[in-house]
């Protein structure tokens, strides 16, 4: 119950909207009712949405950027941005996917920005926390880390986060056809990198 959390939460403001939040049979509020309450000004509902979904944003950001510190920043900014712009959410029942889209685009921005500083085409070191280690799996992950930000993002989302091309398209605001062709090109790049690795 949101009301029970008041004493502990940093977002412990009172709101008439809180009492209007509907609960399911287990006493949990649906995202839909929380979004509606948050739009009416309930800070408790905002906090509950943040608690429910920030880990999803973090995982998406970590998968794409490959660094925990960057994922922390992206998750925090994405959650705050999503709740500030809640009126722009077209489907109030789909807060989670919307937050994931915001986190995806921010994570990609971070990855692009980082490429400003180093020429990653010739970067021998893994540029992602998940790219370290030994063996075939680690070689594959290093090859993924070496892809361009856009291609790396679609590979990570498709094969490691198990998203369908339509979901990737939504996250990146791309047509499904573009997503499929980007995946195909990324797989071609990967094959080349892995062949080079095997000959080295």
């Amino acid at each position: 119950m949101i009301a029970r959390r008041r004493g502990r939460s940093p977002l412990s403001g009172t709101s008439r909207a809180t009492s209007r939040v509907k609960e399911d049979v287990n006493g949990n509020q649906s995202d839909l009712s929380l979004v509606r309450a948050a739009r009416r000004g309930s800070r408790a509902a905002q906090a509950e949405l943040a608690r429910r979904h920030w880990r999803l944003a973090w995982k998406r950001a970590f998968a794409i950027t490959g660094r925990a510190a960057a994922a922390d920043d992206v998750a925090q900014e994405s959650v705050v941005s999503a709740l500030v712009k809640l009126d722009e959410l077209a489907d109030p029942g789909a807060f989670g996917p919307w937050l994931a889209r915001i986190a995806t685009r921010r994570a990609l921005d971070v990855l692009r920005a980082e490429r400003r500083f180093v020429d990653l085409d010739s970067l021998p070191e893994p540029s992602a926390d998940w790219a370290s280690g030994l063996g075939e799996a680690a070689d594959t992950r290093r090859a993924v880390a070496a892809l361009s930000p856009e291609r790396r993002a679609v590979i990570v989302m498709r094969y490691w986060l198990d998203l369908m091309p339509s979901e990737i398209g939504e996250a990146l605001e791309l047509p499904v056809g573009t997503v499929n062709s980007r995946i195909a090109r990324a797989l071609g790049d990967l094959r080349l990198v892995l062949e080079e690795q095997s000959h080295a």
Binding site: P10, R43, D73, Q76, V79, V80, F117, Y159
Partner: protein, 253 residues
């Protein structure tokens, strides 16, 4: 490509769990945001008019103050160019001296392809970067120290050369020479052409003709890619308890 897709599936990383403390940080940030929004006063017609008059007065005052401060800065301190430079040295030598690090934290604000980048990089430790794209969207992140494209791929975070160090190295390598004058928004510049030792990058570096402060750097990388960067701020700060958090490092030693 089914084999490759299978291989990708086998390489799926084990995702780590984020810190629980992050949830508290997020909720605190939300709370701060809500408090700021609540404290913003409602504007009536009268208050808006008063605000406009006040804003005009403030703007006039700010312009006057900016003129005074800018004049003082031009005479006294212009970031890295504030040092006393050898008047008898060549342009390249003076430019190299002007970019030499004078503090542990490199603070740079620049524009690349319409995107504004601002970073504070603590040598060998960490950096914090804020980017603002052409639509005004801002992204902030922390990372290892900023490494220059001129220095080649870093072997480790602590070994990477900062932008200032890499430019200085390129200018003192013996392959840099003055290639004439230029202007940018009416500002007189000296154009220096150089070849970096590694990774065989070359570039054009433009500095203020009087102060030798960095103005623009165009780097051509192997493969023909170029990066065109215009500097608004390029300065060094001492690493203190106040400045280290700017670079994403803890204030305590």
């Amino acid at each position: 490509m089914p084999e490759l897709e299978d291989r990708l599936g086998r390489a799926r990383p084990m995702w780590p769990a984020p810190s629980d403390d992050l949830e508290r940080q997020i909720l605190l940030t939300l709370e701060e945001h809500a408090t700021r929004a609540r404290q913003a006063p409602r504007k009536t017609f009268g208050s808006r008019r008063r605000w406009r008059l006040g804003a005009r007065a403030l703007a006039l005052g700010a312009v006057a103050l900016a003129v005074v401060v800018a004049g003082a800065l031009l005479n006294l301190t212009e970031g890295p160019a504030s040092k006393v430079l050898p008047s008898d040295g060549s342009v390249v030598e003076r430019a190299a001296a002007a970019i030499r690090p004078t503090g542990e934290i490199e603070h740079v604000r620049s524009i690349i392809d319409g995107t504004r980048y601002e970073y504070w990089s603590l040598s060998g430790v960490s950096s914090r970067t804020v980017t603002t794209d052409s639509s005004g969207r801002t992204t902030q992140y922390t990372a290892g120290p900023v490494c220059s494209v001129l220095a080649g791929p870093p072997r480790a975070g602590a070994d990477c050369a900062s932008t200032g160090e890499a430019i200085e190295e390129a200018l003192t390598s013996g392959h840099a020479h003055v290639a004439g004058d230029a202007t940018l928004d009416g500002r007189a510049l000296k154009r220096i052409v150089f070849t970096a030792n590694s990774p065989a990058a070359s570039g054009v570096y433009e500095v203020d003709a009087r102060t030798m402060a960095p103005v623009r750097l165009v780097v051509t990388l192997p493969g023909g890619k170029t990066r065109d960067e215009t500097y608004q701020v390029f300065e060094y700060l001492p690493a203190t308890a106040e400045t280290k958090p700017l670079a994403g490092a803890p204030s305590a030693p």
